[in-house]
Amino acid sequence: MYELTNVTKKYDQGKRSVTALNNVTLSIPDGQMVAIQGPTGGGKSTLLQMLGALDRPTGGTVQLGASDLSKLGQGPLGEIRAREIGFVFQGFNLIPTLTAQENVETALAPLGVSTADRTSRAAAALASVGLGERGSHLPAELSGGQQQRVAIARALVKEPAVLLADEPTGNLDEQTRDEIMELLEGLWRDRGLTLIVVTHDSAVAKRAQRRLLIKQGVVREIS
């Protein structure tokens, strides 16, 4: 699925240059559940952005299947994100003025799906995360855990090959954290997708098949 080869990412901050990723070489096969841990500022989010085709590396290559993400323009990267990659964010990132149903539908809008199909698929996705009855609620009317479920439904409605979760339980209490992780694991098993979770929470990381530690831009395996 993913082949990262000597990936480097540098940011210019005034006169200084900060190296967020330092010659990362990494391979993630299809259907694997991977947890990426590390201290704040270690490069977790930057690595996730490389994997999520949100940004291009300064050096090296990022291969997702047959596509070299490091060489594609913004347009093609957007198309890959639309079809292949689902995102779950720490802050849920739901559109506040749209209902739960409509938030899920936003993921299908770029795919040219008919209105009827979009509505039915979004409803099914909400049902699969246990929120079939909450489609008409605005995010402000939902709890944190419910909002994250909506975000997961949005990420999975397009049936992506990859699900990237950036601190998905970071804003949730312990019980809700466990519920969300149960949900993610269940979906991962049922759908055979590749699940990559960035987290600083060891309890979350332990659930993964494989654990990586990133520190000062360098990635190593944790047994």
């Binding site: 949100l54 957007g78 409509e102 936003t106 809008a109 770029p110 795919l111």
Partner: protein, 495 residues
């Protein structure tokens, strides 16, 4: 999704939508009102001018005044009323004298009526008419009878003290005198000219108008307002230069609030004869075949008749004075600039609010880009929201503008207007009768014009266009800002 997201966004951010829409509405309402008032003022000016110069007069031609040569009295110069020793009638020690004079107004110069033929022969002139603008001034006096043995020497102080003959006679019986001067304007015109000229913009209120068979006859048509003040009705006679004319009709201006061009109208040939100006006219009124021909006709007339002053409607409009003129200036200057400033402010508010909204929605747009929304889709979303805000403002602005126009028309402000003879020969003095000796030419007839503000489709369309433009401009700039957001930066901004 586009419509749903747009609808929810506008409903969810009502305050921003309201502020942008209100700003746009105020600007558009102001543009509508200023434009409509400007049209109303122009209409009023045209009404004033039409009442004086007639409907369809595009150009007037008059003689440029020249200084009299040595020994020659200037045209319209000081008028003398000379009486011989035996003039007048004497009764009971009082001699009454009376003299009437029909002459061109001071500052007006008569010229050869052959110019009418020259003007009529110019290309694209559809009609032309000549008039002779005159003032009839009557001097009446009563003074003590002059004794033939009176040497006229003043008594010395001793004689008076010794009880010399006290003065007698005159209207007061004590040797005093009394003089009066009356004047009214007279316009000589060809009765056959109906298409253009002062009488083309009048309505007949009694009797009949001048007809082609009236050539050479002493008949007159009066301005109805003047007839009222002079207590003259159809069938009465009126003396012009000492000659009696039969009043055959009364006319009034087509606009109830304006005056006609003259107090009295008589056949041109009769006016010329009475004034001693055979073959002379003071003004030629010209109608162009099309408004696009006016400039060329003006140039052609100036070339053919280099000693004349040729003025178009635009030049004549500047002669309109009074509060109507002030309103015109106010609308043109203050109104126009105020509209532009408010419009610019409204556009700026819309743009700033849109940019601010985009900035506030950085995470939202970053998330949408992360899940696959293209730049184009996001730009269309932002532009669509701005366009709807602009259109809401436009609709409200049109409604407010129409209400404003309705209020103005209900209030129906009255403006004073006058068409003054600001330059020699520029125009015939309208109805300035009753003025002092030799002053008729300088009088400006003022009339009250009720300002009516029209609603035109073009103004509404301009308003809609401005609303769309404002919305698109804000949307384009906001959308550009949104498109420049990098999804990774947008998502990093939430950390």
């Amino acid at each position: 999704m586009f419509v749903t997201y747009l609808r929810r966004e506008l409903a969810g951010r009502r305050k921003q939508t309201a502020i942008v829409a209100i700003g746009m509405a105020l600007a558009i309402a102001l543009v509508i009102i200023v434009n409509a008032v400007s049209s109303g003022v122009q209409l009023a000016q045209s009404t004033v001018l039409a009442s004086v110069y007639g409907v369809g007069t595009d150009i007037t031609v008059s003689q440029t005044p020249a200084a009299p040569t040595e020994g020659e009295a200037g045209a319209g110069g000081p008028q003398n009323f000379d009486f011989g020793a035996d003039d007048g009638a004497t009764t009971d020690g009082t001699t009454t004298v009376s003299q009437a004079r029909l002459s061109v107004d001071r500052g007006t110069t008569a010229f050869d009526s052959a110019a009418l033929g020259t003007v009529s022969g110019i290309d694209n002139v559809s009609a032309a008419a000549a008039t002779l603008s005159l003032s009839n001034t009557t001097f009446d006096g009563a003074l003590p009878e002059r004794s033939t043995t009176d040497t006229g020497s003043a008594p010395t102080g001793g004689d008076a003290a010794a009880g010399g003959t006290p003065p007698s006679g005159g209207p007061d019986g004590a040797g005093g005198s009394s003089f009066s001067v009356d004047s009214f304007t007279v316009l000589g015109l060809d009765p056959a000219d109906e298409a253009v000229g002062p009488l083309s913009a009048v309505s007949l209120t009694d009797g009949r108008s001048l007809e082609s068979t009236d050539v050479g006859t002493n008949v007159a048509v009066l301005d109805a307002s003047y007839a009222t003040t002079a207590e003259v009705v159809v069938g009465d006679t009126i003396a012009i230069a000492g000659t009696d004319f039969t009043v055959v009709g009364l006319v009034t201006a087509s606009s109830a609030d304006a005056a006609t061009a003259s107090n009295v109208y008589i056949p041109l040939d009769v006016a010329q004869t009475l004034a001693g100006l055979d073959g002379q006219v003071t003004d030629i009124y010209v109608q162009a075949a099309s408004s696009t021909d006016i400039e060329q006709i003006q140039a052609d007339v100036e070339a053919a008749l280099p000693d004349t002053t040729v003025k178009t409607q635009a030049d004549l409009a500047s002669s309109v004075s009074g509060s109507l003129s002030s309103a015109s200036d106010l609308v043109k200057n203050l109104g126009l600039w105020l509209s532009l400033i408010v419009l610019a402010a409204a556009f700026l508010i819309a743009i700033l609010f849109t940019i601010s909204g985009v900035t506030r929605r950085t995470r939202e747009f970053g998330t949408l880009k992360a899940i696959g929304w293209s730049n184009g889709r996001i730009v269309r979303q932002v532009a669509g929201e701005s366009l709807i805000q602009g259109l809401i403002g436009g609709v409200v602005g049109i409604a407010v503008g129409l209400v404003g126009i309705l209020v103005i028309n209900l209030v129906a402000p009255t403006l004073t207007a006058g068409a003054a003879a600001t330059e020699a020969g520029a125009m015939g003095g309208p109805g300035g009768g009753g003025g002092g000796f030799g002053q008729a030419a300088a009088e400006t007839a003022t009339s009250d014009i009720v300002l009516q503000v029209p609603v035109t489709l073009s103004v509404i369309l301009i308003a809609v266009g401005l609303a769309v433009l404002g919305g698109l401009l804000a949307g384009a700039i906001g959308g550009w800002r949104a498109s420049r957001l990098s999804p990774s930066e947008a998502l990093r901004s939430i950390a």
